[in-house]
């Protein structure tokens, strides 16, 4: 087995037994990146030198007796997460050349744990998109089929994990941006409960929905990486003061006697036959493991998409106001006055999708429209939360497809934003409700991975990990790797 193919927990065993060093592991991954990323474009910036220096330090820490699940483990970071001194662009031209002066809280935690940061991965600009086609720099290719998208917006992280260009990665999920690319690339992606992981240092898209989470090769790794980044952060007033359980310890408890709900509204007519079959087969697996599969209803599910596309752009329209070319990033060189400078910097610096959402959000918040759009959407959000509350009172977790289809072709939906938005139809209600979900591989359709979600109660990541792990132990889908 190649070093780059290892999972985090496999690599950790080798590191702990001194069978490999972090330096050799890091070198293997940098070599892998050099070999395959010229085609895949998963990374925007690779920090080879710093990564090797960190690996050296991790090896020294280990020699001094340190240990830990992430000590010496090379990871990739979605480019919306600030890394001190390492270029962070959020996939936008407007942040070209921006080097943060501080680390996001999750990055500080990873550094403390001794993880290695290989580089920054591609994303749709400011995480707005489902394919990485909205990146201001590059479109990442799906490692299973280079003509297809890896999903988005955390497509770079998902592709990097799927193509073994890192042992694990961080993504961010506002409406499905971790789970959807994980599904498209055949890897595991977890969106934690809102407030579980600090957002400090995550370049905001929609503040009430954004959450950082792991994209990894299997459920065990998801537990390990999640454990490293959770916790209250005094710098994030929306992060909760609630102790996190030991996620890895909860994995093996099985699903016998558990009630797993399948929302009727998420098994829709429009979904691909291959996806439906894979999800139904998965339900049989859990049944055989002793779980009780029941149908539940999420009556407001169909309103999630319109509500999301009012709330998220509204917040984004304010969040993106700070990018004016004065303090950092791109600044238009040829301007008459400050107002002209603002206009031109933003006209050139932002891509079409970002502008579209700023306009949507600005409109939704405007005098005379606020009640009809933003306020109404917030009311719908409350109803969707209630749907989740009621469904999760009856069940321990919910099972749903992650996406209605397999990864689409590059360019296929680029001129049809609405159709592209529909790819998130199964994921974004979860963000509105603020609960947690994990996408795991559950089969292939047309040779492409299919993902399914396990969704759980607020702050009950342990249960969705346990349900996912039981399935993973009973199947081999997570072992499939694309031929790169």
């Amino acid at each position: 087995m190649n070093l780059h193919d290892l999972t985090i927990h496999q690599a950790q065993e080798l590191l702990a037994s001194d069978a490999v060093t972090s330096v050799s592991l890091t070198e293997a991954l940098l070599a892998r990146i050099a070999a395959v990323d010229t085609d895949l474009h998963a990374y925007l910036h690779v920090a080879s030198e710093q990564a090797l220096a960190q690996a050296q330090e991790a090896d020294e820490r280990r020699a001094r007796g340190a240990c830990g699940a992430l000590l010496g483990i090379p990871l990739a970071i979605k480019d919306v997460i600030c890394t001190r001194g390492l270029e962070t662009t959020a996939g936008s031209r407007i942040l070209a050349g921006f080097r943060p002066v501080y680390d996001a809280t999750v990055i500080a935690k990873l550094r403390e744990a001794g993880a290695i940061i290989l580089g920054k991965t591609n994303t749709d600009e400011f995480a707005m998109g489902s394919s990485t086609e909205n990146s201001g720099y590059d479109t990442t290719r799906n490692p299973w089929d280079r003509d297809r998208v890896p999903g988005g917006s955390s497509g770079g992280s998902a592709a990097a994990v799927a193509a073994s260009m890192c042992l694990g990665a961080l993504g961010s999920d506002t409406g499905g941006s971790i789970r959807q690319p994980a599904a498209y690339c055949g890897v595991v992606g977890l969106k934690p409960t809102y407030g579980r992981v600090s957002r400090y240092g995550l370049i905001a898209f929609a503040s009430s929905l954004d959450q950082i989470g792991p994209i990894v090769k299997d459920v065990t790794d998801a537990a390990l990486l999640l454990q490293a980044i959770v916790g209250h952060d005094p710098q994030d007033a929306t992060s909760v003061e609630m102790p996190a359980p030991n996620y890895a310890a909860a994995l093996g408890q099985g699903v016998a006697g558990m009630r797993l709900g399948v929302p009727r509204e998420y098994m829709v007519d429009g979904m691909a036959a291959g996806v439906r079959q894979a999800v139904e087969a998965a339900l049989d697996v859990w049944r055989e493991l002793g779980a009780d599969i029941v149908q539940v209803s999420m009556p407001h599910a169909e309103y999630a998409l319109p509500a999301y596309y009012l709330i998220a752009p509204a917040e984004a329209s304010a969040n993106l106001a700070r990018f004016d070319g004065v303090r950092y990033g791109y600044s238009h060189p040829d301007t008459d006055d400050i107002w002209d400078a603002f206009r031109r910097t933003r006209a050139v610096g932002f891509g079409d999708e970002v502008k579209r959402r700023i306009m949507l959000g600005t409109y939704a918040l405007s005098a005379g429209y606020y009640d009809a759009y933003y306020l109404k959407a917030q009311k719908v959000r409350t109803l969707i939360k209630r749907d989740y509350d009621e469904a999760l009172q009856q069940c321990d977790a919910l099972i749903a497809p992650t996406t209605p289809n397999i990864a689409f072709r590059i360019g296929e939906l680029i001129d049809d934003p609405l159709q592209m938005y529909l790819e998130d139809i199964f994921t974004l209600a979860l963000n509105l409700a603020g609960v947690c979900g994990i996408s795991i591989p559950c089969g292939l359709s047309e040779g492409m991975p299919v993902g399914l979600q396990v969704q759980g109660r607020a702050f009950d990541e342990a249960t969705i990990l346990r349900v996912a792990y039981a399935y993973e132990q009973a199947t081999d889908w997570h072992m499939l790797r694309p031929q790169v």
Partner: protein, 479 residues
């Protein structure tokens, strides 16, 4: 037709907290070199998040309580969206529909009458950066960005420039009493906007209001309102109409100038700040803050009149500044019987000392008890009034106690009639001319003769005794 002015005021006051509203940077920006009190949060770098400064919330609630406001149990922050180079996030974190404090009032004295000004709301927000315009371009200092700012909005209850002035003065006194703001308008720590409209006296409906900005001093507030009332009545009298506009006060030309009209009013697109959970103020928390309320100037004034029997004209001056009032009270505590005498010394000699050196009460080199002791020495006749002033002067220079100065310099008043009789005798002997004049009925030379006797004792003689003895001597020799 006679018009009545309807005025509402919006006051922004910087809140005196150690750190800024949403980050840990020092809020003491004024003396710091430009852009040194900054961090990723107040510079609005990508990815940062605000955290509420609890001290600023409590200071605002304290202010609301002092203004008799209700503190609702639920309050939240909102984003106020607008683009300006001094606003690094492109939105200001403010409070829109659920302010910290609502529905209070402030009583002010205008021309001997008490007027109640309704307080619509007090809310908390953050200050912007400071722009400096130079011929080579504009400079931004982010030290001020994120400094906590409270906004105090009145009802349209003010009826004249004098009332507006009285309201502002009283409000600033309260802010200073509470220690929540310096209230310094000249330094921009307190800023004011006035909404002015006119209506025919007796009418119910409001006229069209004009907002006046750029009021940088108490005087400009008064002048601008007077000017604007004049301008609007001129317009109305000549059959014209007032337009709903924003005007700026031009200090140099002493007039209001057009800034923008209503059509260009900005749509701030307020929405709840998703980065900050709402605040719930429990009755217990509000009570804890209420217990920190000091005795307010209005209450102090009433108490001084009631307990100390101080003249009401004096009382207003004593309570205008909190440290002065506290100094006075401590002095009175040392000599409770001398409340009015101490007040006289405070308002006379102590105030003169302060104003001559542009000093504050905190800078006084003497303690309240020391002042009380001095006043007692005058009161019990140990020294006379003139010597008392000299002694106080010396106390202010050296910090030495009054009794010690009197003792060391032998300033104790000479009330010993035997010693004084000798002096009088010699004064009478040395000034036969004036003595003769007096005897011819020119009684005003008595003052001259008293002065001579005082001079002979270096001013230490008890004037009353000197006068009595002198009269006696003149009478005796006449006989």
């Amino acid at each position: 037709m006679e018009y009545e002015a309807i005025i509402g005021m919006e006051v922004h006051a910087q809140v005196l907290t150690r750190s800024k509203m949403f980050c840990g940077c020092s809020a003491d920006y004024a003396s710091a070199p430009a852009n040194t009190h900054t961090c990723p949060v107040c510079l609005a770098l990508p990815g940062v998040l605000p955290v509420i400064n609890r001290a600023a919330v409590e200071a605002t609630v304290l202010t609301g309580l002092a203004l008799s406001c209700t503190i609702p149990p639920f309050t939240k922050f909102d984003r106020k969206n607008y683009t300006y180079p001094d606003l690094p996030k492109g939105y200001q974190i403010s409070q829109y529909d659920y302010p910290l404090c609502v529905g209070g009032h402030l009583d002010v004295q205008v021309a001997g009458e008490s007027r109640r000004i309704g307080i619509r709301r007090v809310h908390l927000e953050e200050d912007t950066a400071k722009l400096t315009h130079t011929p080579d371009g504009s400079l931004i200092d982010f030290n001020r960005a994120g400094v906590p700012l409270m906004e105090i909005v009145t009802e349209a209850d003010i009826r004249s420039a004098d009332e507006a002035h009285a309201y502002l003065t009283e409000l600033r006194t309260i802010l200073r009493y509470l220690g929540v703001s310096s209230g310094d308008m000249e330094r921009g720590a307190m800023r004011c906007e006035a909404n002015v409209s006119l209506r025919p006296r007796g009418a119910r409906a409001f006229g069209t209001k004009v907002e006046i900005k750029n009021l940088n001093s108490f005087r400009s507030v008064r002048n601008a309102i007077v000017y604007e009332i004049d301008r609007q009545s001129g317009l109305l009298a000549s059959g014209g109409a007032v337009e709903q506009v924003t005007m700026g006060w031009d200090e140099e030309r002493q007039c209001t100038v057009f800034q923008r009209s209503k059509e260009y009013a900005e749509d701030y697109r307020y929405f709840p700040e998703p980065d900050l959970p709402p605040i719930e103020m429990t009755p217990v928390e509000v009570q804890t803050i209420r217990e920190r309320l000091p005795e307010l100037p209005h209450d102090k004034a009433q108490r001084y009149e009631r307990e100390f029997g101080i003249k009401s004209a004096d009382v207003a001056l004593l309570v205008a500044e909190h440290p002065t009032a506290l100094f006075y009270e401590q002095a009175v505590a040392a000599r409770p019987a001398l409340a009015q005498a101490i007040a006289n010394w405070m308002l006379g000699e102590v105030f003169r000392y302060l104003s001559e050196g542009e000093r504050t009460t905190a800078e006084l080199p003497i303690s309240p008890a020391m002042l009380a002791e001095l006043v007692a020495l005058v009161d019990d006749g140990t020294i006379n009034n003139t010597v008392g002033k000299q002694v106080l002067n010396e106390m202010m220079t050296s910090g030495e106690a009054a009794a010690s100065i009197v003792e060391r310099r032998g300033l104790a008043q000479i009330s010993d009639t035997v010693a004084l009789e000798q002096i009088i005798t010699s004064v009478v002997a040395q000034h036969p001319g004036p003595v003769a004049q007096y005897r011819e009925g020119e009684s005003k030379v008595l003052g001259f003769l008293i002065g001579q006797a005082m001079r002979a004792t270096q001013g230490k003689a008890n004037v009353q005794i000197v006068r009595d003895l002198l009269l006696q001597a003149l009478d005796d020799s006449q006989r």
